[in-house]
Symmetry: C2
Subunit: 227 residues, 2 copies
Amino acid sequence: MPGTSQPTSSPTAYTPTDRTVPTRSADRASYDKELVHAILDEGYVCHLGFVRDGAPVVLPTLYGRVGERLYVHGSTGSRPLRMSGEADPGLAVCLTVTHVDGLVLARSAFHHSINYRSVLVHGIAHQVTDPEERRIALDALVDHVVPGRSRDSRPANKKELAATAVIRLDLDEVSAKVRTGGVNDEPEDLSLPYWAGVVPVRREYGAPQADAGLPSGVALPDYLTVL
Amino acid sequence: MPGTSQPTSSPTAYTPTDRTVPTRSADRASYDKELVHAILDEGYVCHLGFVRDGAPVVLPTLYGRVGERLYVHGSTGSRPLRMSGEADPGLAVCLTVTHVDGLVLARSAFHHSINYRSVLVHGIAHQVTDPEERRIALDALVDHVVPGRSRDSRPANKKELAATAVIRLDLDEVSAKVRTGGVNDEPEDLSLPYWAGVVPVRREYGAPQADAGLPSGVALPDYLTVL
């Protein structure tokens, strides 16, 4: 099965490389696979960077994870997906996912920050052409939005499959970066008359809004009541 | 004053270019300045893309806006900030900000989507060396996290200023992309027995957590009670 059988240098951590060791705040970096997976699985949108005509492009897009592989999909006509076509050697990408967890208000302007968790994945993205891997990837993309949803919706038909390009990015050159905790003010600033602390930030879900055309008798599924 | 005096082709909209007209879902694109500013002002983290050794890098980072200019800051030792130094012609970047507003669950897997608002800014980032513009930029960065906060914290001192690099990116080649509304299922799918609709997603703030070392008598400021 795709995504579960690639050898890696460690079963629990990614191997740091020149470009996954940050030049600053290296103490915030982690290569722990469990942490990386958790950050990835909590996000809805990644920011996919690639180079076009020598200039960087950063597009927000949905993604899915199957083991140590990430999948991104899109129209067969979209630019990054065209650029990673079969005839190409792949597309160099950087895929980043970030969660904002808190606003860190220090007494000094300089030490203002945010609490966050982010993952950066560097690598070469390749088009997925194997029908079975494409099916697994597309299920993962739907289940990434709501776990369990792929089994409770109409699968893609031939026409839809033909219109959908899927690219794969292996989790190999990967790092997480995390800031948690409180303010880091200078000792001489502690008595200044400015409020200091952390304002937590989190994601909230509103009540699901059923489509107006929903047939009567179609109930809200359990997987939505737990959000 | 920086950020308010650049001529643009229209007072209310950015001029579309080859790279700001999307190849897909062009109906979701907008060049309206008010919309772009609103999306930018609501975000905490942008994803800054640049090219290093021929490969893309996408870093999450704080930003601030002053009129038609964005500012990003960082350590003088950080890579993108070093690369846009005075001796350089600037650094080609793509800066993207995205908000997730809802999960769109269609009856068909193919039509699953999310409601979102995003802004892409293409351009050349330059180091800011003018002391007055640097001060304005750093205030904007703090006020972007919490409006009004720069006046209620200790300003950066000489040592901190010397350690901080600021880069500027003009809002010139800019587009917004927005998806709103409900599911777009195929007519023949409407009677399928799958729940369909939208789950709203929004940002919530927790109660501010005061730093343990806060002197007694320092009250929670008004600008935090309105979050």
